[in-house]
């Protein structure tokens, strides 16, 4: 999924070769320019490739954007299920229900939502906890909105109550 080892080895080998050029007095000027270009290249790769590719897996920005894209109205609330990170609060402006631990408060909240006529609820959670959520929520239908390729740390699930 995230595999950068070939690129990193390539940069490492290039750095070794350019450093070796410094040994030859006649090539030092070229080695200096080469090292400068390589350093800028590594940083640009970090900014354009490495950080954008890793960010969705270690942050909730994309998962939260998926929620706002997928929901049809504000009547479809978001729930942070067994989450104690911080991205869920930041990206929603704290407009969500948070359950750090599961149990009676969560089942009561779900019961109340059903009573109020809520049809669809979105859950953001860690992928390993989807099974436990399904057992507790007893929803009629489930759909994982985000895939493991999009984020392996967080998943957005749509549940029809």
């Amino acid at each position: 999924m995230l595999d950068f080892h070939r690129v990193l080895i390539g940069f490492g080998v290039a750095a070794v070769l350019v450093t070796a050029l410094f040994a030859a007095r006649a090539l030092r000027r070229h080695a200096t320019y080469g090292m400068g270009a390589l350093a800028i290249g590594v940083a640009a790769w970090g900014g354009f490739v490495y950080l954008p590719k890793t960010a969705p897996h270690w942050g909730q920005g994309d998962v939260m954007r998926a929620y706002y894209t997928d929901r049809t109205s504000e009547a479809e609330p978001l729930v942070a299920y067994e989450m104690n990170w911080k991205g869920e609060s930041f990206y929603t402006g704290n407009r969500m229900a948070t359950f750090v631990t599961t149990g009676a408060p969560f089942t009561k909240w779900l019961h109340d939502e059903r009573e109020h006529g809520t049809k669809v609820v979105y859950f953001v959670l860690e992928p390993s906890r989807v099974g436990g959520l399904k057992g507790q929520a007893q929803a009629r239908a489930w759909r994982e909105v985000t895939t493991r390729e999009q984020s392996h740390q967080f998943v957005l699930v749509r549940a029809e109550l």
Binding site: W58, G59, K86
Partner: protein
């Protein structure tokens, strides 16, 4: 003449353009969400700046809070002050290396710092150590120029201001040991090994030695019990 001026300023433009492009534009700071929970810990702390819980925030936290207050609670708004301070750190590094060595060396130092992965990530993220690193460079460089370069009185004021600003920012970022003691001891140790430093140390040691001798002999008591005057 014009071409000469252009080449004269070329290293400075390299030192400005490299961090501006890498820290702000390539790609924009908004690309890529916040690192959960490391960046969000400082964002959360920034949210409480001004409350009783965060009455005296660290400098990075205060800067993130400033970004949120001015631009709103966006990921790029918190990162922007970090990138700006990192840019100042690169420019400070260019300035003192250019002053101690030459402009070309300053440009290379700016490229090296801007592309160093640890500094680069700190500059583009709401983590806070980029502020301490920039402050450390400003303090170290300001003190180094004051001690090692032949400078005029007007120049002295500017380098003193840079050193003091770096020390103050370092103290407010990561405390007295990392922010103040480290740059002071680093420059002090280098100066102590230099010819001027060695001569200064010898003068101090000689004065202290003679003062100690005077005080020991001055208070030596005579066999009769009274203080023996010399």
């Amino acid at each position: 003449m014009e071409a000469q001026t252009k080449s004269h300023h070329a290293p400075l433009w390299v030192a400005i353009a490299t961090p501006v492009i890498l820290f702000f534009l390539a790609p924009p700071l908004s690309r890529g969400g916040l690192w959960d929970a490391r960046e969000l810990a400082i964002a959360e702390a920034a949210r409480h700046v001004g409350d009783a819980v965060q009455a005296r925030p660290s400098l990075p936290t205060a800067l993130v809070a400033f970004g949120f207050r001015v631009f709103g609670a966006h990921d790029w708004a918190g990162r922007l002050p970090m990138a700006f301070v990192a840019l100042l750190g690169v420019l400070a590094t260019y300035a003192w290396v250019a002053r101690l060595v030459d402009r070309r060396a300053g440009a290379y130092a700016a490229i090296a710092l801007s592309t160093m992965p640890l500094f680069f990530v700190q500059a583009r993220a709401m983590l806070g150590d980029g502020v301490a690193m920039s402050a450390s460079s400003a303090a170290f460089g300001g003190l180094a120029v004051l001690l090692f370069a032949p400078i005029r009185a007007r120049e002295r004021a500017a380098w003193s201001a840079m050193a003091l600003a770096g020390l103050a920012a370092g103290l407010a970022s990561r405390g007295a040991i990392l922010g103040v003691a480290m740059p002071c001891l680093g420059v002090g140790a280098a100066w102590g090994r230099s010819a001027r430093g060695t001569a200064f140390g010898a003068r101090i040691a000689s004065r202290m030695g003679s003062r100690m001798r005077r005080s020991r002999w001055g208070s030596r008591r005579s066999p009769s019990g009274g203080a023996r005057s010399r």
